[in-house]
Each structure stands twice: as C-alpha cells, then as structure tokens.
C-alpha cells in the first residue's frame, strides 16, 4: 500500500464526478448484449484468478494462446482468397505470388462450383466472375502447374463431397507427390453452417452431408494425415446476424457435434481432434471480439477435456482462421473501410488467431481491384512489422476489463451452448430451425440499432457527404472469348473419355451411397482420378443422398 496522500482513492468521489460528466447518457452494451461499465478494477478481476482463468500459453485453460511461443514461433499466416476466371488465370497469379515468397495458397472457386455444377450447366455470364472455374482433375493440374505441393499449404473452399480436394489428390498422384506430404485445410466442410446461413455452399441433404463429412475425416486420417479435414465455421452465422457470443456458441456446438459423429463412427478422437480447425468473423467491436476469441479458446479446451474426455493438449488446441467482417464495411466513403479493416485485424491478432484474411476496402462495391487487394495484404504486414503486434503473447491478458469481459462472454457463449443442447445438439437445432431463427432475430435487432441511430456508422447514419460516383477502373471480368474457349475445351475433354469407365465410376459412388461400410470420399477420389467431373460426382450424390433445401425463414 502506498502511503502518499495523493494515492488514496475515493470511490464515492469518482462516482460523483463520473455521473456529473455523463449525465443523460444511456447505458452501454456490446453486440452480445453484455452491459459495459465505464471503469473496471479489482472488483471485476484480480490476479488471484491467474491460474484458474489464464495459465500459460499452450497449457491449462489455454486462454492466452494455443502455442507456447505464439507469433514469435510462428507468425500468423496470411491467406487471401483469390481467383477469378479459368485455371490458367489462377496458375498465372499463383506463380506470381509464389515468386513473392508465399508459402500458402488459397483456392476460391466460382459460385457455379460451389453450387455443385459444371460450367456447362449454368449461365455462361456468371462463369468466373467471383472465383476460379475448376471442374476436373485436369484443370486442377493446370491451376497447380509448377507449384511444389509438398512445400505449400493449401486452403480449399471445398464443401461436401470435397471434389476439389479429390482433384488435388489426383494431381498429386500424377506428379508423384505422396498424399501424406500434402498439407492444408478443407475450408467450408462445415455443412451445418451452410444449411443455416451460407446456402451457396449447400450441395447435399443434411443427412447425406453428415455421412460424407465423417467419411472424409476418416479417409484423411488414414491417407492424408497432414490435411485438416474439417474447418468449423462461425463466420457464416455471424455474417447472417448472430451476435459474436452466439456465433462462438454455435461454432463450439458444431465442433461438439462433429466430434460426437466421429466417435459414433468409431474414430479415435485423440487422433482426429488435432486436425479440427475453426473459422470466424472479426467484427469491429474490438474488445468484444478479443474476449470472444479468448473465451472460445478456453471453452474448447474445456470441452475437449471434460465433455469429450480427451486429455491431450494437441487435441485441445483451438486453431482458427479469421476474416475481417464485410458486414461492417460501407459503400459510403469506401476508403474509410481501410481503417475499419485495420481495427478488425488488430482485434483478431490480439485475440490470438493462427491465420487471417483481411478484406479489401472495396468489397462492398465490387470484386476487389488490384490496388485494394494489395492494401489488404499491406495492412497485415504493417500490423506485424511496424506495429509489432507479434512480439508479446496475449498482450491484453490481465487487463481488468479484458479478463472480466472474457469471463462474461464465456458465460454468454455457454448460454447458447445450453440452448443448442436442449434442442438435441447442433444437428437437430439446425434441422429444426432454432439456429436460423436466433440468427434472424439478432440480425433484425442489429438493423434496428442502426436504423434508430443508436449505433452510428460513419457515412451511413452520420457524417454523410455528397460523394462523386465510383470512378475507379473496375476489376476486369473474364473475357467472354476466353470463357467460350474454356467451355469448348471442357466439352472436348468430356467427349474424349470412355463413357463406360465414367458410368462405372459413378455407379460405384451410388453403391457406396447405399452402403455405409464403403468410404464414400474414397470413391470420390477414385472417380476424380478416372476423369469424372465435379458436376457428375456432385450430381450423382445429390441424386442418391438427396439435396437439402435450406429452411427458408423470414
């Protein structure tokens, strides 16, 4: 205790001054509905709780980070989703990026691929306008030509039944790369999140997806052990309106569901859990996001230990990728978005992410122009190299506010988990529409905040200016002649195959769909190697396993 007179604090006096200075102000809450006090102190958190709440990074409660060294040992990786046009365009761009020293590549396919169609099944106007068009193992070989697979980590946006990964495996076989050397992640493997919120990625019925996903996890554990077969996605639900606490709760509930599905199949959880990864949205609500990530990390470690009964720190590591939220970006005064993205990215790094995508400032205007994409990457470099956010592990740990908020967010997340548990787990909660309803209600509540002006958004409901029209040189759309040529090549490729071989491979898929004892993903890989197309494989499984129309709830 200090003995100087000036150090004596008078709580009542502070309260009087505070009240006088803030008269008439409304109470504050964050997006998850937690009341925010103006000042936090030892009454909210004390370091007596250090062991119980925090511990050390890579150990115990896991709050401070999943690795002992965090960014000193391995900087977060920068993954920017890229890809427009054809496999040739993609290869050009990847070679340029690999030349610039990139050690990770991401592949974001065209929406036609997401929807499970080949390029000859959709309106050619839409082909390649928001992702790369890849329908065959051949085209994947074109896209990855000259890239050393064993030295690069691949992020594939590849929902069930994982045809793009099958094409990568076929390419690896052809070029002599052993499958156990291939590393990366099946992003968008979380079909539950697609059924709730991002219907674009939905290809099979809920039950069909459930079967294929567990087969995929099983197959990867045996044949491609460095591949992360599952990425559980909270991003879609937060984008669809879920509060940060709800989004974390739904994601953890999905993680539990997938782990239990694996266990029900007889897989060894200690072996598959270390390959579980997660993917989140980072909103601009800075401290809330930091607390969300810290609380989620702590909860997952606890779930793995207590609920799933696995006592291995590797299995308890909450590895996650995060993307700055496009929902916070505005069309008005778009350059302001550079600032928003920087703040969101800071929150993500301070929350302890493993990998990040920063949005380009113009994503609400169009597909990003090249300069905007470059600024997005530079933002991450500036945070690391100039602001040195990578130097100290969990730098906000021990802050009264951050620790109190982490505990409160944890309690809020547990409420969502309990809601889902009462509905019979995430699969049932999604099938019955509970999660969709909660996301929808939160979206409306948020909209009401903005409409009423209680939540200010610069340029939207405050500080508006008269703006000139958008005069930037727009992102090139794929040249129609190129697309036309690509379509013709595709038709020629299909015509040159032996129809009987293709029919046989697809029938094998049907047989596997009927018979639970056959690994369906193994059959997808075989079909891909024989020359079946993405649309043929997905179409056949959609026929046999059904297509789940999303529950449409307004």
């Amino acid at each position: 205790m200090s003995k100087t007179v000036s150090a004596n604090s008078d709580r009542a006096e502070w309260q009087r001054e505070f009240d006088a200075q803030t008269e008439g102000q409304r109470p504050r809450t964050n997006r998850s509905g937690i009341p925010i006090k103006p000042l936090y102190g030892p009454e909210d958190w004390t370091s007596d709780r250090h062991e119980a709440d925090l511990g050390l990074p890579g150990q115990g409660p896991m709050t401070r980070g999943i690795y002992a060294s965090m960014y000193r040992g391995r900087p977060w990786s920068q993954r920017q989703l890229v890809g427009l046009g054809t496999a040739f365009d993609y290869n050009d761009r990847q070679r340029r990026m690999a030349g610039a020293g990139a050690s990770a590549l991401s592949l974001c396919p065209c929406n036609s691929v997401y929807r499970g169609y080949d390029m000859d099944e959709v309106d050619p106007l839409l082909l390649g306008t928001c992702g790369v068009v890849i329908n065959t193992a051949e085209q994947m070989s074109t896209a990855l030509d000259g890239i050393a697979l064993e030295r690069i980590s691949i992020g594939l946006n590849d929902p069930t039944p994982f045809t793009l990964f099958a094409f990568v495996l076929a390419h690896a076989k052809k070029t002599g790369t052993p499958w156990d050397q291939i590393s990366g992640t099946s992003n968008q493997s979380d079909y539950l999140s697609h059924f709730v919120a991002n219907h674009m990625f939905l290809r099979l019925s809920l039950e069909g997806s459930r079967r294929v996903l567990v087969d995929h996890i099983d197959w990867c554990a045996k044949h491609a052990p460095k591949w992360n077969a599952l990425s559980v996605v909270g991003q879609h639900m937060q984008q669809a309106g879920a509060t940060p606490a709800q989004a974390m709760g739904f994601t953890l509930a999905s993680g539990i569901q997938y782990a239990e599905d694996c266990r029900a199949r007889g897989l060894d959880l200690a072996a598959v859990l270390p390959r579980f990864t997660f993917f989140f949205d980072i909103s601009i609500s800075v401290f809330e996001e930091i607390a969300k990530f810290r609380a989620g990390r702590r909860l997952w470690a606890k779930i793995v230990r207590e609920r799933l009964g696995i006592n291995d720190p590797r299995a308890a590591r909450f590895k996650f990728h995060a993307q700055t939220s496009g929902v916070d970006l505005t069309r008005q005064q778009p350059l302001n978005n550079i600032v928003r993205v920087a703040v969101q990215a800071m929150a993500g790094v301070l929350g302890g992410l493993q990998s990040m995508h920063t949005d380009a400032y113009d994503e609400v205007l169009s597909s990003p122009v090249e300069e905007a994409a470059r600024i997005a990457v530079a933002t991450q470099n500036i945070l690391r190299e100039e602001a040195h956010l990578d130097e100290v592990v969990d730098p906000l740990g021990g802050s009264y506010y951050v620790e109190a908020l982490t505990n409160q967010m944890e309690a809020e997340i547990e409420k969502t988990l309990a809601q889902v548990d009462r509905a019979g787990g995430m699969f049932e909660a999604v099938k019955g529409g509970l999660v969709q309803r909660l996301c929808g209600e939160s979206a409306l509540a948020w909209q009401a905040e903005v409409e009423s002006g209680r939540q200010k958004v610069v340029g939207v409901n405050g500080w508006q200016i008269d703006e000139p029209p958008d005069v930037r040189k727009p992102q090139e759309r794929p040249d129609p002649a190129t697309i036309d040529r690509y379509l013709k090549e595709f038709a020629a490729f299909k015509a040159a195959r032996a129809p009987a071989t293709i029919a046989k491979a697809l029938d094998e898929l049907s047989r596997a769909a009927e018979d639970d004892r056959i690994n369906l993903f193994g059959k997808v890989v075989e079909a891909a190697m024989i020359g079946c197309t993405h649309g043929e494989i997905t179409g056949r499984l959609r026929r046999d396993l059904g297509f789940g129309n999303p529950l449409v709830m307004a």
Binding site: G432, G546, N549, V552, A554
Partner: protein
C-alpha cells in the same frame, strides 16, 4: 366479359391469376367474376390438408402433387399463411414451390395471407378455390399451417380433409384432439420411418374408435414423403373419399350453401350495425325490464333491420 371467361376456362394462367386477385381483393370486378363462374364449377376435386408445423406437410403435398402430375392431372394450390395481427402484413413462405414444381404449367400455386379479408378468410379461400375450379384444375389443394380456429374453418371448406401428424409429437396429438379431430376424413402419419410412428398411428386409431362412423371409415395412413412412400395410397384414399362425398352432396352445392350462410350472417351483422342507436336502446329497455325475452328481442331487431335495408 365473356372474353376473360373463355380464357379462364381454357386454363390461361395470367387470367386465372388476375381473377383470383379480383375475388381476393374484392375489387369491383369480383361480383361479376363470381356470378360468371358459378355455372362452371364442380369439376375439381378439392382437398384440404392441415396439421401442426413440423409434420412435413409441404413435403407431403409436393409428393402428392408429383403423383397427381404422373397421373396426368392438373393441380391448383391455395397456401394459407398467417398475417401479422398488428400490421396486417405477411410473409408468404412459398413452401410448395420449393418442391420443384415451379415452371410446370400443370401446377398453379397461390399464397393467401390470413388477415384482412372483409368476409373472413374462409370465404375468400372458397372464392379462390372456385376460380381455380372454373379454370379447369383437376385437383385443388388447400394448405393451412397449424390448427387454429381460422385454419380449421378454411380446411372445412374442402369436402375432403386430410390431417397430417408426425411421430412422437405428443403435444400435437393433443392439439389434433382439441381442434381438428372432428374434421379429418383421412389421417396421415408422415415421417413413418421414425421411431414411434406406430405408436402415434395407434393413438390416432384409439381416438377414432370413440368417433361415430358413417359410411366412411377414417383411415390412418403412414407415409414417408421424403422417400415418396405411401403417397399413391394417400392419393387413392383422397380420390375415394371425394367420390363418396360427391355422391352425398356435390361439392359446389355444399360450398355454395356454406357461402350463402356466411354471407347471410354477414348481411345480418351489417344490417343490425346500421340500425339507429335509439332502436336498439328500446329493445334493451324491454329486455332489462323483463318485458321481452332476449331471443325474441333479437328476432324483432333483425326483422326491423332487414326491412330497412
């Protein structure tokens, strides 16, 4: 006038849509439309399908539509959705079109919000059915969600009423008991591949034992709409019941009888409301003093009101 009627009877979709709008919105054309189509009614089989949310009604209806289409029949669907009691607005869920019949000219789906109909929802629904009937639809399906009073009333318009339940929805059985047991001509236990299906079917059969049977023995059918199982049997049962109902009382006649009764009640209510306060006050005095019985007073007031209007 006869121009549109010809187009309607030839099955023209645009004319059908506009004629429905006229009767639904009670536009000045509505009376003429109704008058013109009445002589052309009676061809359609009209079936009401209702049941609690979650029973898989929409999937069942889609499978039923598929069966009807395979049998070469054309279909009209009236899908009733609840309106907001506060604003009168409604989200019409478009559940039936999700089944992939959109674009098939043999299927015509029209949503109907439950609120804001001058003569009541069931009257409007009856008019919409009539227009579809006159346009030559072979089968008209009326779908309602839930088992509230107005849903039951709407379902009652159809001479053949199907109530759908799903296994293990214990509370829903209670709801059915309370609300729509009386009106069901056919029970369906959908999702019959789930556990408890037999128990639910058994519970329904038990309840039916207490009920008086006429000529028609109410069947409890099991279906798995998602896998298209049991749908042929359902379609057959609906056709059988419709035939029986038709012989006892032709559907347009039954519908017209109900409409006349409803319109008459409406007319009486409006006439009474139009009486001067003083007249009603007089009757009140007489009833309160014991000089006049309540029913007697009502009859006199009504007679006076009708004489004046």
């Amino acid at each position: 006038m006869s121009d549109w009627l010809e187009r309607l009877r030839a099955g023209d979709r645009a004319t059908l849509a506009r004629a429905i709008t006229a009767v639904e919105n009670e536009t000045p054309e509505a009376r003429a439309v109704l008058k013109a189509i009445f002589p052309h009614l009676g061809k359609a089989l009209v079936v009401g399908i209702t049941g609690p949310p979650g029973a898989g009604k929409s999937t069942l209806i889609n499978a039923y539509i598929e069966t009807l289409r395979a049998r070469g029949q054309t279909v009209g669907v009236v899908a009733v959705d609840p309106s907001s009691p506060i604003t009168g607005g409604a989200i019409l869920g478009d559940r039936i079109r999700m089944g992939g019949h959109s674009g098939d000219p043999g299927v015509f789906v029209r949503s109907l919000a439950s609120r804001g109909h001058l003569g009541g929802l069931s009257r409007t629904a009856a008019h919409v059915i009539d227009v579809m009937d006159a346009s030559g639809r072979d089968v008209v399906i009326v779908e309602t969600v839930g088992a509230g009073q107005s849903e039951v009333e709407v379902a009652e318009i159809a001479p053949t009423k199907v109530v759908v339940a799903a296994p293990g929805l214990g509370d829903d059985i209670q709801a059915i008991k309370a609300g729509i047991l009386e009106i069901a001509d056919i029970f369906v236990v959908n999702k019959a591949d789930l556990p408890l299906a037999d128990r639910t079917a058994g519970q329904l059969l038990d309840m039916l034992r207490l009920k008086d049977h006429g000529e028609w023995r109410i069947p409890v059918l099991k279906t798995v709409a998602l896998k298209n199982e049991g749908i042929e049997a359902l379609a057959d049962a609906i056709a059988q019941h419709a035939k029986l109902a038709e012989t006892s009382r032709p559907a347009p006649r039954a519908r017209a009888a109900k409409l006349i009764a409803a319109q008459a009640a409406d007319l009486a209510r409006r006439s009474i409301q139009a009486l001067e306060e003083k007249v009603i006050d007089d009757y009140c005095d007489q009833v309160l003093s014991g000089a006049l019985e309540l029913e007697e007073a009502a009859q006199r007031a009504l007679a006076k009101a009708i004489a004046r209007s």
